[in-house]
Symmetry: C2
Subunit: 107 residues, 2 copies
DNA sequence: ATTTTGCGAAACCGAATAGTTGCATATATA
DNA sequence: TATATATGCAACTATTCGGTTTCGCAAAAT
């Protein structure tokens, strides 16, 4: 199944999970304790977050620690960066126009 | 209906719309020309993006120009900033631990 | 060896989603 | 005035989504 970072963070529970374990890795049971829904529901969220690589698994015995993949979080920032770039050039073009107007005024 | 920025950008078509009109405002018809789906489908996307304030409408006669609300885009960045903050303190704590180890070694 | 614990996977269900077609309305244009 | 154009809205549909319950399995604990 195609998993997308943006689709993954669309769900508020999944965003909460990311924030919860951003500080330190946690097991599914420990994570589920912080939410009203069942462990299985949380497990589904973890699966989705793992499939899009926002989470990494660390296996220790029968426990699985989930931790945030900081590197993948950058994908969101990269997308935002596109807009920053567009707006910068747009404003620099505006600057050029304003400079031209100033120039014309002098004449 | 409750509209969320994260839910809005979950859809790839909506992300494409945002990028398309980031440079300059466009009308629904002009936007729809860039996609395979019908004008009505695009119009629905525009409605969702407008409801969560990622887009602003400019009315001129019977035409409606849609433009990106750069300010609302910051909401996404604010969310990302939480993680940056967590990771900064986590690393500074790590620094403290390392410093302590160094201290202990001296003794 | 038996029981408990931690976990994922499957089957199912109601709600939400993205798309379509068809229609109504207001503004240009002939 | 009649017609074409730009747009939003409603009804319908197939699919996806988030949740639950039930189950199976492997690792600990007893």
């Amino acid at each position: 199944m195609r998993r997308d970072v943006f689709q993954a963070i669309a769900d508020p529970t999944r965003r909460a999970i990311l924030l919860l374990i951003a500080a330190h890795a946690m097991t599914p049971n420990a994570i589920a304790e912080h939410f009203d829904s069942t462990r299985q529901a949380v497990s589904k969220h973890l699966k989705i977050l793992t499939e899009c690589e926002l989470l990494k698994q660390k296996f220790t015995g029968r426990e699985i620690y989930y931790e945030v993949n900081a590197n993948k979080m950058k994908d969101i920032d990269k997308w935002l960066a596109q807009f920053r770039k567009i707006w910068e050039t747009r404003f620099s073009q505006l600057d050029a126009v304003l400079a031209q107007l100033k120039q014309d005024k002098k004449k």
